[in-house]
């Protein structure tokens, strides 16, 4: 009993100190008012299940596991809790069979230091069941897996979208294993970069991109409970890149056209040599025919 009182007092103290750090007015301290409680309950029919729980701030979480049991429904089985795969001490209890089900409940006080995977485990005679609760800050939604490509001198926008609006956004540039915070203040060297953060979205605009800007950028959505990150890769290319295949194709087209017309000229020259004789024969016949007609008409006229 006293431990839980100390626990809540400590929790309230943490809340109070946070209130001092920010510019907001600290929330009124009402020791009797219990902090918010989030209830998550899962009913398991099979033998394992994973549940994702998104937390925005330090909160008490009540995890409620119900198992419908296996074929041999023993009246008593054991159950315990695990955190990140390691059994939590002093959590083993006997679980009674009620209404053909086994039930385990526990309340955890979660803050940013003890996020992780919490599991309730039922141990039956031959088998058991496990329900994992993955407690974490809300993940990013729709992260691009393809790199963002930009040309040198152009401006590019990298954006991140979160499922829930965080308290604030942070952007980092990842150099190997180091993360360098992007400072968009007026005096920094990175004045080419602007961050536009509006609730769910945050956009990093890089003006006048140059080759050193290429790399992995990390956006961090900071909640009370912790931060959730997303990564976007930026690739920088010069305009020569697409120009190379373009010029290659142009050269190919010009060569093709040249070859085709050249072949045709050669073939037509051959044909002309053989065809000329035929044509001259024809035209001479026609000329003779016309002359003949004219002569006959003039003859008629003379006769008449």
């Amino acid at each position: 009993m006293s431990s839980t009182l100390i626990h809540s007092l400590w929790f309230l103290l943490v809340l109070f100190s946070r209130g001092i750090d920010t510019t907001e007015t600290p929330p009124p301290l009402v020791p009797d008012d219990p902090p918010a409680l989030l209830e998550k309950s899962v009913v398991l029919k099979g033998d394992s299940h994973v549940e994702n729980v998104e937390l925005l701030e330090p909160i008490k979480v009540k995890l409620d596991c119900t198992w419908t049991g296996n074929k041999t429904k023993l009246p008593n089985i054991t159950g315990y809790w695990k955190k990140d795969g390691i059994e939590i001490d002093n959590t083993q209890v006997r679980v009674q069979l009620e209404n053909e089900r086994y039930n385990l409940k526990k309340v955890f006080s979660i803050n940013k230091d003890n996020l992780g995977d919490y599991s309730c485990v039922f141990v039956g005679s031959q088998d058991g069941a496990k329900i994992d609760f993955h407690l974490a800050a809300p993940k990013m939604s729709d992260m691009r897996d393809k790199p963002v490509v930009s040309y040198v001198g152009d401006s590019v926008v990298i954006d991140c979208k979160s499922k829930k609006p965080p308290v604030y956004w942070l952007w980092y540039k990842v150099n190997g294993t180091e993360k360098e915070l992007i400072d968009t203040g007026a005096n920094s060297s990175r004045h080419r970069m602007h961050v536009n953060a509006e609730g769910y979205h945050s956009k990093l605009t890089v003006l006048l991109v140059n080759e050193s800007d290429a790399g992995i950028y990390s956006c961090s959505a900071v909640f009370h409970i912790g931060a959730s990150e997303g990564h976007v890769e930026l690739r920088v290319i010069t305009f020569i890149e697409p120009l190379k295949p373009f010029l290659a194709i142009l050269v190919e087209v010009v060569v093709l056209v040249f070859l085709i017309l050249l072949c045709e000229k050669r073939n037509s020259r051959k044909q002309n040599h053989s065809g000329n004789e035929n044509q001259s024969a024809q035209t001479s016949k026609l000329a003779q025919g016309e002359n003949g007609m004219e002569e006959s008409s003039t003859i008629r006229q003379r006769k008449m």
Binding site: V253, L256, E264
Partner: protein
């Protein structure tokens, strides 16, 4: 000595039905791939444009609409230019224009630039390339014309499979600007295709017959009369042509609806994205098969061409009506079967839609007739997609769209039966042309008519439908442009004079 004396035309070369003709078929293959295959795969760019220019899908989809509209509207101009200058220069110019359009588009800073470059300039280029190339293929073949055409058009089907992933790769590597630049270069290959088109029998000698040899007429009047005859505008006053153009327009209202809405319909019925994409791909395959089968079988000459046309269009309309029924109760195999059947019949119908044209207007006028038909049928194409989209918005599902589309196609079939001499066993005499003096030419033409000349595909601008939902329709709009009639027909007329 009559002033009307034509200079002696070179004797028409015997149509080889092969030889260099197959090279021209290859040229058609590449050209149709680079025109319609490319248009079908532009969906990849739409996603990028929507994001970059921050505009709605509707605004971006106008780019293809304008491109297709230009391709159809400029078609008669393209055929008229072929009469004047010969096919080869026109096609090479067309290839150059379509390439330039994309190259300029890579520098666009607003959507209007894209309308002007990708829409107007490239669209005009496509018009100058496609119809003349089709005509040239027809010049080189008589007996196996429809097969040659069908083979040429398989370029569209195959390229639409290959281009979508290729374009996606280009956009991922070079962004859309670089990708458009490379596409422009690819389009320049059509210039090389144009260079392959050797005109058999020399440039159009028929032109000489047309020019009124009145030396006192002003240059303006003679230019106008030239334009009048090049554009075959006299066809607009003849009932059979008008009947047929009405029928084709009705076909176009309904023909493309599945290609625009089939994916959306299948998603609506609850099938996954991959299942929907599979349906479209499979329909594309049966489309190609249907064209080849129809081209080959109509060459055999068992049935008269208008009858075969009615058969295939009737079946197409029927399967359109059945599409909503096929997916009734969430049955995926049912939808697949109906879509495959639809694909086969619509592919089979397209070659015949063009083959019938010479029967109606005569061989020598088919070139201009096809140009005009493309212009007129564009009404059906442009109105059909928004209409079906509207029906979907009103009723909430696609059943009404498919039913209405099927009804339009069947109406077109009924209008086709109103063609003169439809119910007779033999081909009717073609329309009297103001240029053909005397009966002997008619005999020559009707003799030509008897050999089934199936022109494949001419009219469909279907491939380039304006997308209402750009993320859906990357593939499948069937556009097949039509064939042009023989220049050979004209030179024969000259000899008779």
């Amino acid at each position: 000595m009559s002033k009307f004396q034509p200079r002696p035309a070179p004797p028409p070369e015997a149509v080889p039905d092969g030889g260099w003709g197959w090279v021209v078929v290859g040229s058609l293959f590449v050209s149709s791939a680079l025109v319609f295959g490319l248009i079908r795969s532009l969906g990849v760019f739409f996603v990028e444009f929507v994001q970059h220019f921050d505009e709605s899908a509707q605004v971006i989809s106008w780019i293809t609409s304008i491109g297709v509209a230009m391709q159809q509207l400029v078609s008669p101009v393209g055929t008229a230019l072929c009469y004047a200058y010969g096919t080869r220069p026109v096609v090479m110019m067309g290839g150059f224009l379509s390439g330039m359009g994309f190259i300029l588009a890579s520098q666009a800073t607003c959507v209007t630039h894209l309308y002007l470059t990708m829409g107007v300039i490239s669209g005009s280029g496509w018009a100058l390339v496609f119809t003349p190339t089709v005509a040239s293929v027809m010049q080189y073949f008589t007996r196996r014309r429809s097969l040659a055409m069908a083979l040429g058009f398989t370029g569209i089907g195959l390229s639409s499979f290959a281009f979508s992933p290729l374009f996606q790769l280009l956009v991922d590597t070079y962004t859309w600007r670089g990708a458009l630049l490379i596409l422009g270069g690819l389009s320049f290959n059509m210039v090389a295709c144009g260079a392959l088109i050797r005109p058999p029998g020399g440039p159009k000698a028929a032109v000489v017959v047309e020019t009124q040899s009145d030396v006192h007429s002003s240059a303006c009047a003679s230019a106008l009369s030239k334009a009048y005859s090049y554009l075959e505008l006299s066809l607009l006053f003849q009932r059979p042509f008008l009947t047929y153009s009405l029928a084709i327009t009705l076909f176009n209202f309904g023909y493309f609806v599945p290609y625009v809405h089939l994916v959306a319909h299948s998603r609506h019925q609850g099938f996954s994205q991959y299942q929907a994409a599979f349906i479209i791909s499979a329909t594309g395959v049966t489309d190609i098969v249907g064209r080849l089968v129809s081209g080959w079988s109509s060459d055999l000459g068992r049935l008269r061409l208008p009858h075969m046309l009615c058969l295939w269009t009737g079946l197409t309309g029927l399967f359109l009506l059945l599409v909503p029924l096929g997916s009734l109760g969430g049955s995926y195999p049912g939808l697949v079967v109906v879509s495959l059947a639809y694909g086969f019949c619509s592919g089979a119908m397209t070659p015949l839609v063009f083959s019938v044209v010479p029967e109606i207007v005569g061989m020598q006028r088919t070139l201009g007739a096809l140009g005009l038909l493309q212009l007129i049928e564009s009404v059906g194409g442009l109105l059909g997609a928004p209409l079906s989209g509207l029906l979907r918005d009103i009723t909430g599902n696609y059943t009404a769209s498919f039913e209405v589309a099927g009804i339009f196609v069947i109406l077109g079939t009924l209008v086709t039966t109103m063609l003169p001499h439809f119910f007779s066993r033999t081909a009717p005499p073609p329309l009297a042309s103001p240029r053909t003096p005397g009966q002997d030419t008619k005999d020559a033409e009707s003799a030509l008519m008897k050999s089934p000349s199936s022109f494949s595909e001419g009219l469909n601008h279907l491939d380039t439908l304006p997308f209402t939902e750009p993320q859906l329709d990357r593939s499948s709009l069937n556009l097949d442009q039509g064939d042009l009639p023989l220049k050979q027909g004209r030179s024969e007329v000259d000899n008779d004079c």
